[in-house]
């Protein structure tokens, strides 16, 4: 039995997912122009996970993200224009252009950072959850990670540590089928991520990550558990990514029609629209309006980022705590 959500809640969730989608689709185009430097890992296809999780959280709850972090940032409330500026490496970026795509963070929003190291977020999230536990206000910390991260010792250590210290940490594993250029069916030895977390003694739910409602309902159950002090838990969400590991990845490891097929069959936005249409919860016209507004926002974000100044050279050595001759 699905949880009932109000019209406003549904519209908001749709807007969040659509914002992530258009942010990423636009980046895909902008990167081709050569104006954006470095590595960018796009989140298109996985939007239902970030939004289905973060719609339950408020600013006091904490999340730790991954290299594929734009979706988590938007879902947790980071300013879209400041994010775009950061990815463009501008002084107006969330990290003054010093972090870039893989290190977008907004501590005021409880977003403790995307992360360039696969699996590093696990221990950090347990620490954030410890802080929440010590405060005793029912806050939680969510560690986002992919199927690749569960093969990192750090995540396995963190899962055990979370159980040992009874931290309100939730490990959200987004299984998009690929660890970089290698299939999860190969790299996850047992092929069963949920069973791994269960083996640590954690409550675990596995659900369809392309279905916003499935994610939302699973998280509701896990959050009740964690907020009540009953210990850490894990969700494994089955999903897909519509782009490569990074932009420029030729994706030779994927069957020729796989992405096309997944865009047809596993598109969480399409699923959402079909679902709310079938129940009559939302009108297509309401969502069409959101689509227009989102495109407008992303347009503005790109234009403003492009026009924004580069960071001053003096910024190289600020916020390092120590200067040398």
């Amino acid at each position: 039995m699905a949880i009932q959500q109000s019209k406003d809640q549904l519209l908001r969730a749709y807007r969040q997912m659509k914002t992530i989608r258009e942010f990423e689709e636009r980046l895909h185009k902008e990167i081709m122009t050569g104006e954006i430097a470095g590595f960018t890992h796009l989140y298109s296809g996985q939007e239902a996970v970030a939004v289905g999780v973060c719609e339950h959280l408020d600013e006091k709850d904490l999340i730790v993200s991954t290299h594929r972090g734009h979706g988590h940032c938007i879902a947790k409330g980071c300013d879209v224009k400041a994010m775009m500026a950061e990815i463009f490496g501008r002084a107006t970026g969330l990290g003054k252009g010093k972090g870039g795509s893989m290190h977008i963070a907004d501590f005021d929003k409880g977003m403790l950072g995307a992360n360039g190291i696969v699996g590093a977020g696990g221990p950090l999230a347990v620490g954030a959850a410890l802080s929440a536990k010590l405060d005793g206000e029912g806050r939680v910390a969510v560690s986002f990670g992919g199927d690749g991260s569960v093969n990192q010792g750090a995540v396995l250590e963190a899962m055990n540590m979370a159980v040992v210290i009874n931290a309100p940490a939730i490990f959200v594993i987004e299984n998009n089928g690929y660890s970089e250029h290698t299939g999860a069916d190969y790299a996850v030895g047992s092929k069963d991520i949920a069973a791994r977390s269960e083996a640590f003694g954690m409550k675990t739910i596995k659900a369809d990550g392309c279905d916003y409602f499935a994610v939302y309902d699973a998280m509701a159950e896990l959050l009740d558990h964690a907020r009540a002090g009953k210990g850490p838990c894990t969700a494994e969400f089955m999903t897909t990514r519509f782009f490569g590991h990074f932009e420029g990845d030729p994706q030779k490891y994927r069957a020729k029609d796989e992405v096309k097929r997944h865009r047809q069959e596993m598109d969480c936005l399409k699923n959402f629209r079909e679902s709310v249409a079938s129940t009559g919860a939302l009108k297509a016209a309401d969502m069409d309006v959101i689509d227009e507004e989102v495109l407008q926002l992303i347009d503005e974000a790109v234009l403003e980022a492009r026009a924004a100044p580069a960071p001053a050279p003096e910024e190289i050595t600020t916020d390092v705590y120590i200067s040398y001759q």
């Binding site: 221990p123 410890l130 750090a154 540590m161």
Partner: protein, 337 residues
């Protein structure tokens, strides 16, 4: 002033700071010990070197956390909690094990404020017993501070006596940035006068322990005590030296170094690390770049040899730089024409 050991000075600071600030917590392997044991004795260890003793009974299990053997996550626990408003003190049982925790130390703690454009605060202290001299062999005896000193975003502290142990650890816990705090294992039992009450020693201010015009000895951690031993014999032969205890290798007190080099022109740097990319070579390079015109002799570097730390007592004794090596190096620089 109270006479106490280096260990007790550190222990006192953690008691004082945990009492003063409820956001301070301690985590690590066996920091209390006893959890899950069959004796029922809850504080069965108090830290393998006894530095965290008495904390559990006073502050409870929420703030004195016995962890599994998971170094990367021990540091990550402290870092993550510190990003979320706490002040974590993580104990890594031996400095050598920093190798297991390097990601959380070097890639995470060190870089958060920078990568977030100044927004993040990461007030974490990573306490690490280090050093050779106790026959603990190659994987339990290393210095490691040279590696950590090279990382932008980490502060590196090496107290050489009980008073500094107290003053520097207090500063470290109150600092809003990540600090890696190196405690020499062979010094835990060393006694000295320690100021009563609240006592802070600022980072980046070296101590001029002895003054003399003939040569400058620069040392840190346990090497300071060996340099002090060497001073007496040199003085008997009319050789008087400045002895600089760096206290922190990052930040580095460049002014105190250059002032002394300008005065003496003859320098010996003493460092427990192997020679390549050591603190000694770093400081020798710094002096060559910034104090060249003052130099009257090549800078001498007294370091361990380029080898793992050997186990055998005889070999280890020969491995660790000692007062005799320092004495010889000073005589070499003062006699250089």
């Amino acid at each position: 002033m109270t006479v106490m050991t280096y260990r007790d000075a550190l222990n006192q600071v953690m008691h004082q700071e945990m009492e003063r600030d409820p956001s301070v917590f301690v985590c690590g392997e066996d920091v209390s010990g006893g959890a899950g044991g069959t004796s029922g004795e809850r504080e069965a260890s108090g830290g393998i070197f006894g530095v965290t003793g008495g904390l559990l009974p006073k502050f409870g299990e929420d703030r004195v956390i016995d962890t599994p053997i998971s170094e990367n996550t021990i540091v990550g626990l402290a870092v993550g909690a510190s990003l979320a408003g706490k002040r974590g003190i993580a104990e890594i049982m031996f400095a050598d094990f920093l190798g297991l925790a390097l990601d959380q130390t070097m890639n995470q703690a060190a870089k958060f404020r920078y990568m977030s454009g100044g927004k993040a605060k990461c007030p974490v202290v990573i306490r690490v017993p280090y050093g050779a001299g106790m026959n603990m062999a190659a994987q339990h005896s290393q210095t490691m501070y040279q590696i950590i000193t090279s990382v932008p975003g980490l502060k590196v502290v090496l107290p050489s006596n009980p008073a500094d142990a107290k003053g520097l650890l207090t500063t470290a816990i109150r600092d809003d940035d990540p600090v890696v705090f190196f405690e020499h294992k062979a010094m835990y039992g060393r006694k000295g006068d320690v100021p009563d009450g609240e006592y802070l020693v600022p980072f980046g201010q070296a101590a001029l322990i002895n003054e003399g015009d003939d040569a400058t000895i620069i040392a840190m951690g346990r090497m300071v005590t060996f340099a002090e031993k060497a001073l007496a014999g040199l003085k008997d032969d009319g050789v008087n030296c400045d002895l600089i205890d760096l206290r922190t290798t990052s930040p580095l007190d460049e002014d105190t170094i250059l002032d002394s080099v300008e005065k003496t022109g003859r320098v010996v740097v003493v460092d427990e690390c192997p020679p390549r990319c050591s603190v000694a070579s770093d400081i020798a390079g710094f002096i060559a770049s910034h104090g060249f015109s003052s130099l009257k002799a090549p800078v001498q570097q007294v370091t361990a040899p380029h080898s793992p730390v050997p186990f055998s007592k005889d070999l280890e004794r020969a491995y660790v730089p000692g007062p005799m090596h320092i004495d010889a190096a000073v005589r070499k620089v003062v006699s250089y024409k």
